[in-house]
């Protein structure tokens, strides 16, 4: 199987996010980027498929801060190829990003009959829509999202989709296909920094030039801001000991103890 994992960098929400002076974008000064969580699972799922069933794994990303580290890390984890498209991801909405990636597949990478394209199921900044369905639509490929399991069977894949409330459904999908991965069968693997450093010396990130679409943003943001607390919690102060005492009173009041 020929698996392509589409990786996207997103702001790390563990850090504080601030709005820039224009009131329409994030303040980039203290912004730290990380790989979108579901994309990390997409990579893990691809590596599991390769280990179990053979084939190749190619990771693909647009240009973004810290993306090289992420691509090298993917190689260190076991991906065979890393490709970067030198278009600034931040300038593109999801619709335009899907067009660029669709162009990559129609111009630079032949989609074989055993190809599987794995983006993450969604990203935390998907204002215009999700990459996986947009890419599938652009390439006229079958698509299933919120996928939490992929098993090859007779040249097809059987995929598990999460429906909500713990209910899931199984679908059979002919290849080539696009699957939006929500979570891999196992937690994403860890790779030691030393191994990533070694890969940085020995391996190369390929660059493939794709023309950026004219229309980069589908939806103009009028204003970006932090939500106002609707009903801020009554905050408890003190040492763990003091807070525990207060919480016991709260719990007693609710009648559970």
């Amino acid at each position: 199987m020929n698996v392509y994992v589409l990786l996207k960098m997103v702001p790390d929400t563990v850090e504080e996010l601030n709005v820039a002076a224009d009131g329409k974008s994030l303040d980039s000064e203290f912004l730290r980027f990380k790989l979108n969580d579901p994309d990390e699972h997409a990579l893990e799922q691809a590596l599991i498929l390769k280990e179990k069933h053979g084939g190749t794994v190619t990771v693909l990303a647009l240009d973004a801060p810290e993306v090289d580290d992420v691509l090298y890390t993917a190689l260190a984890k076991g991906a065979d190829r890393a490709v970067k498209i030198p278009i600034n991801q931040a300038s593109l909405g999801t619709v335009a990003a899907a067009k660029v990636l669709a162009n990559f597949f129609s111009s630079s990478a032949r989609i074989t009959t055993d190809a599987l394209l794995l983006p993450g199921s969604y990203a935390i900044d998907d204002l215009e829509g999700e990459l996986a369905p947009l890419l599938a639509a652009a390439l006229s490929l079958p698509y299933v999202g919120v996928v939490c399991g992929v098993t090859p069977v007779d040249g097809k894949v059987v995929v598990m989709k999460e429906l909500g409330g713990g209910l899931r459904a199984e679908f059979e999908v002919a290849l080539p296909a696009v699957l939006g991965i929500q979570s891999a069968e196992k937690p994403p693997r860890y790779v030691p920094v030393a191994k990533v450093r070694a890969v940085m010396k020995s391996a190369k990130i390929e660059q493939v030039d794709i023309t950026a679409p004219d229309r980069q943003i589908q939806l103009e943001v009028e204003r970006l801001y932090k939500p106002e607390a609707a009903g801020r919690a009554e905050m408890l102060d003190g040492t763990s000991e003091e807070v525990a005492d207060k919480l016991v009173e709260v719990l007693a009041k609710t009648g559970v103890i």
Partner: protein, 323 residues
Amino acid sequence: MANSILVLAEQVRGELADITFEMLGAGRNLAQESGLPLYAALFGSQAAPLAPKLGVADKVFVVDTPRLDIAPASTVAAALKALMDQAGVDLVLLGCTNISLGVGSILAAKAGLPLVNFCRAAKVEGGAVSCTSQLFGGKILADVKLMDGRGIVSIYPGAFPPDAGRSDKTPTVEKADLLVEAPNVVFKQYVEPETGDVDITKQNVLVGVGRGIQTQDNVRMAEDLAQALGGAVCASRPVIDQGWLPLSRQVGKSGMTVKPRVYLALGISGAPEHWEGMQNSQCIIAVNTDAKAPVFDGSHYGFVGDALELLPVLTEKVKARKN
């Protein structure tokens, strides 16, 4: 402005999901503000008997075909596009849910209209529809505008009150004859929720743990507290993905919806996907090291601190109080 507004009703196995009524309420508001008719679409072979429940809509279009039973996003989007053309619809509301994920993106591409994702608020302003979307796990809001009032809006669950979408009125029901393409993926079977040892939807007290619990060993500390409180431990997605607790303990978009008397959120940031599953708990107590974590915004009590430090102390004090 648009010609009419359409809500895609969401149902699984013949049961309407809450999001359907949340969308109908939101749609009714938009219809009132704009003077446009509000339609609802019900898809699939189990859909027809559900139509009378959608009385908030002026008209319900039923597309009764097994091809739309738990159909892939592309099939649903194609049917919706055909219905939009037939009924003169150019503003569509659909659910930002696992069931409908992808439908909006594909429909927007097919119809040449913009999609507004993660929408929490919407109102008519002149000929435009102004929407507020939550981004970055709920940490930032974005105001966007559908300038001519035309577009696809993906409504976030829990953002609009479902009661505004319920009515005793009987809607006009129209059977829509659409050519529905054969799905390009094959539905095989439902996989029922894992039952597990404990049903978290039936607990009085839940101790919810998130990324902040850090290790599997620390989950035991939360279990001790849950046991002292006569409740159970549950978790947000990162903990389940690590395999530290079984799937049957997941709370949120993909997991269970719970409404205990007390929900302790320990090391949980309060990302919208988790919040969706526990927001209706009677009393929410949040503990997080990040004072700006969104979880504090909707909780009843909060403590900025290390849940790992608090846990053993609280467990002992609860035990002492009970004795």
